[in-house]
Amino acid sequence: MMKIWLRRNFSALMALSPALLIVLVVYVGCTIWSVRISLTDSHILPSDHYVGLHNYVRLLNTDRWNTSVGNLVFFGFMFIIASLVTGTLMAILMDQRIKGEALFRTIYLYPLAMSFIVTGLIWEWILQPTLGIQKMMRNFGFAHFHFDWINHSSTVLYTVALAAVWQGSGLVMAIMLAGLRGVDDEIWKAARIEGISPVRTYISIVLPMLGGAIATVTVLLALTVVRLFDLIIAMTGGGPGDSSEVPAKFIYDYLFDHQDIGLATAASTLMLGFVLVFIGPWQIWQWRRDVRGAGR
């Protein structure tokens, strides 16, 4: 019985073996390993001496970590809401049977093709006060014009969010526009006959129908937030001070510069937990729907 089964499925198992190996070694193995290290007193070198939650206590007493988490949450809310609003408005405008739609689309989406490093470097250049927009306005004669947000710890996150929205709102626009185009024309006709204004129709009828698209986009944007690293490196380097530090950079620095792998893996475990709590249920729901649908 076993033999027959193996013979029949041998090729399929062979085909899956690279994927299986990666999943077992990296996605399962490395995760467990990483969590395990976080429970030991590893510093420069890994250690087998378990210290329970000691690293987590240390982590939560590390100001830079707490700042990083706070920054990420603040940035995340700003970035996701601003991208959703801008992108959705752009999609609605694009949906008004406009001329030159292809051109506008090409323009709006090109930032998506660029690396966050590139995005960060351009915006850093535009926003830094000595030669950027501030200087230009002062040259025009506004001698007291101030625009140096990137240099102040209370405002630097806004500039990072600005650059991220510049890059990310095109994605929202593309997905929302596809959603809008998928709405049955009859809905629009019905709304017109009932005398509902176009603005009202969008707000009360069409956008609620796009719940799935909005959820997808939000998950994608959230992924960008959690992985935020390159943009910070290129744009602010985490500064001024710790004011634009983020968890991914914290982990990187503690792994490679401070060589405190116990603390770094504790931080990565917390991030993992955060992702599992927020994205896990959504993905499990999708997966269950899929498994059921694949019955036959």
Partner: protein
């Protein structure tokens, strides 16, 4: 106001918004290009939006020279990574969709969640594993890393595409006498052209634009262009040559921008398909 005038006003407002947004989106690209064509003296005295008085291509030549090694490294990383990650994903997606194997759905679940786990979680153990096999800091090592992190999206992308094909095609091929690899090679893969294009776009832009993985795993000898660009721009001491920096930035962005312009609508399909189900 008459209906026609009201209509006209609305149209004007719509186009004004669209054009304003387009200018905002294009602005940085414009600034990059003109700055890269200016002399340093003009940059430090002039204004960021002004066209260059005396254009120069010298900064481009300097940057191209500085980045040539990074460019070659990126190409060397890109080609095998794209091919291998797509091959592994396509075959895994096919096996998962068409062959009922025990535990297959659990594998899919891990991939669905794995697509969202921050890289930071894997970095340290992965460095150790690659170092153990002597692959840390090698071209093979970074290709393995890109294949690894491309696996969830690639597998799910292909699996979803295959789930939209009628399963009877696969059954007919089995009755016709084709085995696992033959069905893949003669029936399934030839029908996969659209999704392969999407996958290529996703992987080319994704891997070219990668910074963190290249920084950690590629090693000094294989440093990709993004890492080299960042080193040139942010770690130089002394006077910064903004014109060279901007030229270097444009050069780094050139490959994915070209992919974007050539692929057009496929690119949109790519980024939306990258949504890992939606």
């Amino acid at each position: 106001m008459s209906r026609a005038r009201k209509h006209l006003a609305a149209r004007v407002a719509i186009y004004t918004c669209l054009i304003a947004m387009a200018l905002f989106v294009l602005g940085p690209l414009y600034v990059m290009v003109i700055t890269s064509l200016k002399h340093m003296s003009e940059i430090s005295s002039g204004n960021i939006l002004a066209l260059p008085h005396i254009p120069t291509i010298a900064p481009w030549l300097v940057s191209a020279h500085k980045l040539s090694a990074g460019f070659l490294n990126s190409v060397k990383i890109l080609i095998p990574s794209v091919i291998i990650s797509i091959a592994v994903g396509a075959i895994a997606g096919y096996a998962l969709q068409f062959w009922r194997l025990p535990g297959a759905s659990l594998l899919v679940l891990i991939l669905l969640i794995g697509a969202f786990i921050p890289y930071a979680v894997f970095i340290y153990p992965l460095v150790r594993i690659l170092a153990f096999f002597g692959l840390f800091g090698t071209l093979t090592g970074i290709v393995i890393v890109h294949t690894t992190f491309g696996l969830p999206v690639m597998t799910i992308l292909f699996k979803n595409f295959y789930s939209s094909l009628p399963v009877e095609l696969f059954k007919a091929a089995r009755v016709d006498g084709a085995g696992f690899w033959r069905i893949f090679a003669s029936i399934v893969f030839p029908m996969s052209t659209p999704i392969v294009i999407v996958a290529v776009i996703l992987q080319v832009t994704g891997i070219w634009n990668d910074f963190l993985l290249g920084l950690v795993f590629a090693g000094r000898d294989n440093m990709p262009m993004t890492v080299e660009l960042n080193n040139i721009v942010t770690t130089t001491t002394g006077t910064r040559f903004y014109n060279q920096d901007m030229a270097a930035t444009i050069l780094t962005a050139a490959v994915p921008l070209l992919v974007y312009l050539v692929s057009g609508r496929w690119f949109v399909r790519g980024i939306t398909a990258g949504a890992v189900k939606g």
